[in-house]
Symmetry: C2
Subunit: 331 residues, 2 copies
Amino acid sequence: MQYVKRVFSLFTIIALLSCAERMDQKSDPLPSWNESKAKQTILNFVEEVTSEKNPNYVMPENRIATFDNDGTLWSEQPYYFQLRFAFDRVRAMSAAHPEWKNDPLFAAVLNNDIKTVLSFGEHGLLEMVMATHAGMTTDEFATTVKSWIDTAKHPGTKKLYKEMVYQPMLELLNYLRANGFKTYIVSGGGIDFMRPWTEEVYGIPPEQVIGSSGKVMFEMRDGNPVLVKLPEINFIDDKSGKPVGIHQYIGKRPIAAFGNSDGDLQMLQWTAAGAGKNLMVYIHHTDAEREWAYDRDSHIGRLDKGLDEAREKGWLVVNMKRDWKRIYPWE
Amino acid sequence: MQYVKRVFSLFTIIALLSCAERMDQKSDPLPSWNESKAKQTILNFVEEVTSEKNPNYVMPENRIATFDNDGTLWSEQPYYFQLRFAFDRVRAMSAAHPEWKNDPLFAAVLNNDIKTVLSFGEHGLLEMVMATHAGMTTDEFATTVKSWIDTAKHPGTKKLYKEMVYQPMLELLNYLRANGFKTYIVSGGGIDFMRPWTEEVYGIPPEQVIGSSGKVMFEMRDGNPVLVKLPEINFIDDKSGKPVGIHQYIGKRPIAAFGNSDGDLQMLQWTAAGAGKNLMVYIHHTDAEREWAYDRDSHIGRLDKGLDEAREKGWLVVNMKRDWKRIYPWE
């Protein structure tokens, strides 16, 4: 009897141990994050707002998390991937636009002189984006984007652009959703450019994507209603436009917001000013080997004022080099 | 033995019958709808798009249903309820605006001369709405709306405006959601006016409400970020604005759309032009006793072109008098 008891308790201990081990493996929702303060801050926040007995508990319908896209969910160097899409559109459309050869901006694109192209600054680039995105119906545009995103590769990594997404952020998106969060993209990028692929790549459906947009017009073509994209700006979802976009599209204040540049600062400020517990996170590009390292002096994704404010207010700054085991899913 | 068998089968039959009866009661998701073609059309549509083996099956993520609000989910006579809110705001704000006494529109509001007020037409009314809605922060405005909707009563029925919602439509919203649909409001009414109460009244959360909007501006007040409502139109979600709003906010085409006026026609056309099975519904106000009867000649909620097109294309026209057992929940 004594023997039976001992064997039994030994089995029990082994079973419990192996169970605990399995639990532990199972219970790490962020395996690509190193065991650091960053990971722990995120885990603690989610634990607090989802535990009903915690004073900081948040009802599921108010668990809104907003994510910038360029530089926060996928890479943005050497220049925003949507610009590359626009350049490819210029090339594809150039036969129908002989006048572009005499336009310094469009000519530079056609000559692949990216340095000159970028020197036109935001205004020039926006003009080019408008010219290449407009005129089509929304359905035609979605088809064009879909076929581009499924084939276009980054010149540096030779990977599809849609593969240059951050594995730790994919895990974070899943983890938040598994805890009742609704995850949104709030990006300066084009809303019609993102929506055709964000569900496949990030698990974020079109209705949870907020971005910059051009005006569209309802029109009857041969008795069929279409929406035609116009070469006119409707909304710029950047800087102070981000809280505006959040208000207009969601009508609720996020309790967690993730960005990587000064363009995200107002979104983080707006989130921080909410009642109750909230989480403001900057992804800091510090890894020149595995990705890119840039902040205060970068033309793309500049993080300067935001970095100061994050440090002053104790927001979480994720150091990609130190905090992330892996950058991309294919590593 | 023979006796036992007989008793047993008698019990079985009784049990089966009572079970079937209970099933039948349980399985009527639209008890306030009369047994008519309208009800059957809706039930058949939902059955088709949710049965995996049906050729018209639609994946849950694409089950988007859009509803106009004024005249489709709640009453709109003798004039849009939001106008009454604006009139009440004019009265509440008039002490701070002595100049309004000399303005013919505002003076008419203060004198309760609604006929003169309405004679100013859409443009004048919009101006008044802008004047009374702007200047506040979005949080202040939401609080103002919430306290109005919880107390303001309709002069005719003496019921709260928020109680003047259609019971058959509440059942329909629930029925669609129970079948995996995402239900949206797509209204000419103000988005910031609707969002504070649509979840409580219709079960539709703020992020699924699309409406007209004024511009808002992000601003720092004593170090606190606020969004201030500006007296400037951002978007009119009416007529051809409805498919535009649907594209901008949802990015998917509805498979079911419900309206009651010519202002909803383009939304129904846009829905009808989608691939696959879809359902276009007009609510026709035919019940002068229990609600109001109006269509082609009404200034509010005119249904003229839409009625012709619905008949021509075989869209469902719900006859409120004939098809609805009850109009309001409190009947």
